[in-house]
């Protein structure tokens, strides 16, 4: 897998962002952190980002609204949503917005990594076509 990939992690919880950063960095990915939807949108507009982890529950602009705003100017970038719980009604709403996967906060980071890599593979295949 091409490890020159830049992941944007958008979550209002600094600790969780740091842990994600630590984990994915240790796996060779480069990480960019955003603490709000606005910040994430700015980063995607200015920098080259390959994939986004987007928390759904955030103050002000929540994950759903942020995704809607991103899709206005970038229809390509794959987004994996971060959801607190299996029953989160927002997660099913996100699926209808065309996100690539759901990563549950309670799940192991290994699962997150597997999900990330499978999404990247699918995306690459689609791009190559």
């Amino acid at each position: 897998m091409d490890k020159n990939i830049k992941i944007l992690v958008c979550d209002d919880e600094a600790d969780f962002r740091k842990l994600m950063n630590y984990w994915f960095s240790s796996k060779g990915y480069s990480i960019k952190e955003a603490s709000s939807g606005d910040e994430a949108i700015n980063i995607i507009k200015k920098e080259e980002v390959d994939i986004v982890f987007m928390d759904l529950k955030m103050p002000n602009m929540d994950g759903i609204d942020t995704i809607k705003n991103i899709r206005k100017f970038n229809k390509e970038i794959p987004i994996i949503v971060i959801s607190a719980h299996v029953d989160d009604p927002k997660a099913s709403k996100a699926i209808s917005l065309g996100v690539s996967g759901i990563f549950y906060k309670g799940a192991d980071f290994e699962e997150g990594l597997a999900l990330l890599e499978s999404v990247l593979r699918t995306h690459k295949k689609l791009k190559d076509k």
Binding site: F16, L19, S26, V86, D87
Partner: protein, 464 residues
């Protein structure tokens, strides 16, 4: 000779008089009447006197003697008859008085009873009138017989316009119509009365009962309506609060759990055994806390009835295999053997796989907790085509449950009394299991031969 003749005559006269007296006594009522009417009385006495005189004269030709004899007899029998009449009159009067008294008494009782009934009716009416719950009584034709002010207020219709008329008349609200059409199967229902203004929106609970006459024929329906708007709002607030608080509780737990996991996986070599042991303790207890919070969140959702099953055709055997895999390492630490006994060709069942997995997790989790070293846990699944059911059981060789507690173990927060304090849980696991099984259309119960003899949990699921 003459004296014997006179004696014969006297005997004859006596017998005649006795005859007359007998007739008179049998007609005693006539005497009573005669006593009441004086003129008739004297006429009668005269008639009587004449009769005796004629009888005496027939035997004694001497008019003077006959007269004397007549007077004497008349006097003797007259007074005797008078005495008898008086006695009889007294007796009759006494009896009459007694009858009158009794009649008056029963009339008094009837009046008392009537007064009591009226009073009770008034009391019942004033109770019905003043209770906060609405009361509507409808006859078998759907016509309103009774309606109290609370019902008028709740339904927003006036009694005058409704009594004796079909309740459905002029009712535009479909929800309200459903109230009247309640069947015995839907004894309780909640109706939302829509309103243009949010503040006046009402949620009404209607409890309906069918009124039957002595022959068991339905003669009407009585509905008790209560306004549960406030209660509903509170319930919603409560579930929202629990949902929020559990989310807030879970977030830091997840961060801690992840941090320790990263420490243990990537920096393992930097720690000595003692540090690692402490990290394991933290990790184990974080897991426990997370489970507790998940249970509470799940339970609050079941209570708020906000859980919807995502059903799909599932092979139960696949779920059992997955669950056994999850518990394998824990079971190994206690040398407990988990055995699967599945009937071949089990059909697919329409289930929510995540929720059914949760059922197995809770049951096996309990079984592992309560089964000592070297025990066995048997998971069995078979179909019962006759009852169109899938029967699944989880049996352990653990400490068992006393018979008298078997029915209580599904109650929330219930812990079997003999449970040692070392084994702990939220006390919600089995309540959640029961909720899921019931939501899936099945049933669950437990069997145990008693303490020390293991426990078997059996649940059924409908086969389509």
């Amino acid at each position: 000779m003459e004296t014997t003749l006179i004696l014969y005559i006297i005997a004859g006269i006596i017998s005649i008089i006795i005859g007359i007296l007998l007739v008179s006594f049998t007609n005693i009522s006539i005497y009573v009447k005669a006593k009441e009417k004086k003129t008739e009385d004297s006429l009668y006495i005269k008639d009587f006197d004449d009769k005796i005189y004629n009888a005496v004269k027939e035997v004694i030709s001497d008019e003077e003697k006959a007269k004397i004899l007549n007077e004497k007899f008349t006097k003797i029998f007259g007074s005797e008859i008078k005495k008898q009449i008086e006695n009889q009159t007294k007796e009759i009067a006494f009896k009459y008085e007694k009858i009158i008294n009794e009649k008056t008494k029963s009339e008094e009782i009837a009046w008392e009873k009537y007064k009591k009934v009226v009073l009770e009716k008034k009391q019942t009416e004033s109770i019905i009138h003043s209770i906060a719950e609405g009361l509507v009584v409808v006859d078998s034709n759907g016509k309103v017989i009774m309606m109290n002010p609370s019902a008028e207020k709740l339904l927003g219709i006036s009694k005058e316009k409704k009594i004796g008329k079909p309740l459905l008349e002029n009712l535009k609200d479909e929800q309200l119509i459903s109230l009247v059409k309640s069947t015995p199967e839907s004894r309780e229902k909640e109706i939302e009365l829509l309103s243009s203004k949010e503040e006046t929106k009402k949620i009404i609970k209607a409890s309906t009962a069918v009124i039957e006459n002595e022959d068991g024929k339905t003669v009407g329906i009585v509905s008790v309506l209560s306004d549960i708007t406030k209660q509903k709002e509170l319930d919603e607030l409560k579930s929202k609060f629990i949902s929020n608080i559990t989310h807030e509780l879970r977030t830091p737990l997840v961060a801690m759990d992840k941090a320790i996991l990263l420490l243990l996986s990537s920096k393992k070599d930097e720690f000595n055994d003692e540090t690692k042991e402490f990290l394991f303790i933290i990790q184990r207890n974080l897991k426990r806390l997370t489970n507790l919070i998940n249970d509470i969140l799940d339970f609050s959702k079941f209570e708020a009835k906000s859980i919807k099953l995502k059903k799909e055709p599932v092979l139960i055997e696949e779920i059992i295999d997955e669950v056994i895999k999850t518990f394998k390492s824990w079971a190994d630490t206690k040398s407990i053997n988990i055995v699967k006994v599945c009937q071949d060709d089990l059909p697919k069942v329409n289930l929510d796989p995540l929720r059914i997995t949760q059922v197995f997790n809770n049951l096996i989790n309990n079984a592992l907790k309560f089964t000592p070293q070297g025990g066995t846990i048997t998971i069995e699944a078979k179909s019962n085509p006759e009852k169109k059911l899938l029967e699944v059981s989880v049996k352990d060789t653990g400490c068992g449950i006393p018979k008298e507690e078997l029915s209580k173990i599904f109650d929330k927060f219930y812990q079997v009394s003999s449970t040692s304090s070392e084994i702990s849980g939220s006390g919600l696991g089995l309540s959640i299991v029961k909720e899921i099984i019931n939501l899936s259309g099945g049933n669950i119960w437990a069997e145990s031969e008693g303490l020390g003899k293991g426990t078997k949990f059996i649940f059924t699921l409908p086969l389509e």
